[in-house]
């Protein structure tokens, strides 16, 4: 699980900033990370939905994959992931999944192509903290001789998310304001050399900004100088992504779950579906043709009590039909929400199901995802 830790606890370059802000620090994926600041998870969640939240996601893994030209590096990476990377344009980013031979998800990741033609042949990768050692070993082994992986352990990653993120960013980097959703840029942000993308994991418009460790504190403070920006911990990051209907590795995604089951077919571009050429393609193609055995859904439990990860999902006959993979309280929804897996026949929004809450059945309805409308930048 993502919370497992072995060996000494790691710190991001912003650790002392979190402590100085009064954050409660918890171990997460081997790092000592802020779960919340003194204002609390609900206030942080609501601030991100109404203004702009700043997240330290420096624990995530950043790396570069390089070969002689774009076609070479993209072809190499496409042998491990199902997204179309060959046709990924300059200055664009794509979400995808590293797959195992059974079509299960080793990790989900972002693939970035620089806007600069001189960077052709290089792709940036951003992977989950809890999986980075596994991912990087797999990529190095499987792509040996085709592409070179350089792990960039000297970079911090800051996420600025919310409806005012673009206005905040525009004051620090004029070019970033014009970036489309899932666009990528490089240049100065508040005078600091950075790579940035218009993306995030909250369902809001926003940016992820990668800078060298030495510059992380300066950028963090500069962003927090803006009164519209407040620091947001991992607690609200989780409630925001859950309302946004977004998968979290170790919860919705694991090595047994295919991207088709996870309802991530949208992230697999059409060219790759019949072509295959990625691990587990036979399984995914079979699931597209015949339907998967189970599919990810949203759930709204009745009443006020959250239903947590691991709770059994039962049908109206009391038969176990699935399991809750994430469950909690959605501050914007104002009540409990969950995600889980059930057979496709039970996946239509409005389908009544029952969730186990401490031995009692709680009625729930299948809900369309996301729970809160995504407000990614369109333009």
């Amino acid at each position: 699980m993502a919370e497992d830790t072995t060996g000494p606890i790691l710190k991001t370059p912003l650790h002392a900033e979190h402590v100085a802000l009064g954050a409660r620090m918890v171990p997460f994926a081997g790092y000592d990370m802020p779960v919340q600041y003194p204002s609390g998870i609900i206030a942080e969640h609501n601030h991100t939905r109404s203004a702009a939240g700043l997240f330290d996601v420096s624990h995530m893994g950043q790396a570069f994959l390089a070969a002689d030209d774009h076609l070479s590096v993209a072809s190499a990476l496409e042998s491990l992931i199902p997204a179309d990377i060959i046709n990924l344009g300059r200055g664009r980013q794509r979400y995808s999944q590293l797959l195992n031979e059974d079509g299960g998800v080793v990790d989900d990741l972002m693939v970035v192509r620089s806007p600069d033609p001189e960077d052709d042949g290089v792709l940036g990768l951003v992977v989950n903290a809890s999986r980075k050692a596994i991912d990087f070993a797999l990529i190095e082994e499987r792509l040996a001789g085709r592409a070179r992986l350089t792990v960039d352990a000297d970079r911090a990653l800051l996420a600025l998310q919310g409806p005012q993120a673009a206005a905040v960013m525009a004051a620090l980097c004029h070019e970033a304001a014009g970036l489309p959703f899932m666009g990528a840029g490089t240049g100065l942000v508040a005078g600091i050399e950075a790579g940035y993308t218009r993306s995030g994991y909250t369902g809001e418009d926003g940016y992820e900004i990668s800078v060298k460790h030495d510059h992380a504190v300066a950028l963090w403070r500069r962003l927090l100088d803006d009164p519209r920006v407040k620091p947001i911990g991992l607690g609200a990051r989780d409630s925001l992504r859950l309302e946004g209907g977004l998968c979290l590795y170790g919860h919705e995604l694991d090595e047994t779950t295919s991207p088709v089951e996870a309802n991530l077919t949208w992230s697999i571009q059409k060219r790759r579906r019949p072509e295959g050429g990625f691990p587990g393609a036979e399984r995914l193609q079979r699931e597209w043709a015949q339907g998967p055995a189970r599919i990810r859904i949203g759930l709204i439990p009745e009443g006020r009590s959250p239903v947590r990860e691991g709770a059994a999902i039962r049908d109206s006959d009391g038969k176990a039909v699935g399991i809750v993979t994430s469950g909690g309280f959605g501050p914007t929804i104002g009540g409990p929400i969950a995600m889980g897996y059930v057979p496709p026949a039970l996946a239509a929004p409005g389908t009544p199901l029952f969730l186990d809450l401490r031995g009692k059945d709680v009625q729930a309805k299948v809900a369309a995802l996301p729970f809160t409308p995504s407000r990614f930048h369109r333009g």
Partner: protein
């Protein structure tokens, strides 16, 4: 005059005669973070010391609250499920959970007084 006692699991018992008001401490609410739901027992239920008495749901997780002393539930804070933030804002006041009629007042002797509890949480 009420006497207040504390458990190492951060519950409090405020005793007035043979009635004990039970809740969680300010330290407990600060550790849990925003409380979003409290599941309470029904009045009339008999609890032995250490039995699960209630469940507090924060944004992050569910936490069990154990009966600090044995007794019969004579009243619950019926407004709490609709106003769970009372637990954060006023844990020893409006955020109380339930009242027990004490079955064995001698159990109180093994609980911590205010000074011992403050030492327990390292305050």
């Amino acid at each position: 005059m009420a006497t207040i006692r504390f458990t190492k699991d951060h519950e409090y018992v405020s005793v007035d005669g043979d009635i004990a008001t039970v809740g969680i401490t300010d330290y407990a609410q600060s550790q849990l973070g925003d409380v979003v739901y409290v599941e309470l027992p029904t009045a009339g239920k008999t609890l032995k010391q250490g039995d699960e008495a209630a469940v507090v749901e924060s944004v992050k997780a569910a936490s069990e609250v154990y009966a600090p002393v044995s007794g019969t539930v004579v009243e619950i804070n019926a407004g709490l499920p609709d106003s769970p933030s009372d637990v954060n804002e006023d844990p020893l006041g409006k955020g109380w959970f339930l009242k027990l009629r004490l079955a064995n007042p001698a159990e109180l002797d093994a609980l911590m007084d205010e000074a011992a509890y403050q030492a327990h949480i390292g305050a």
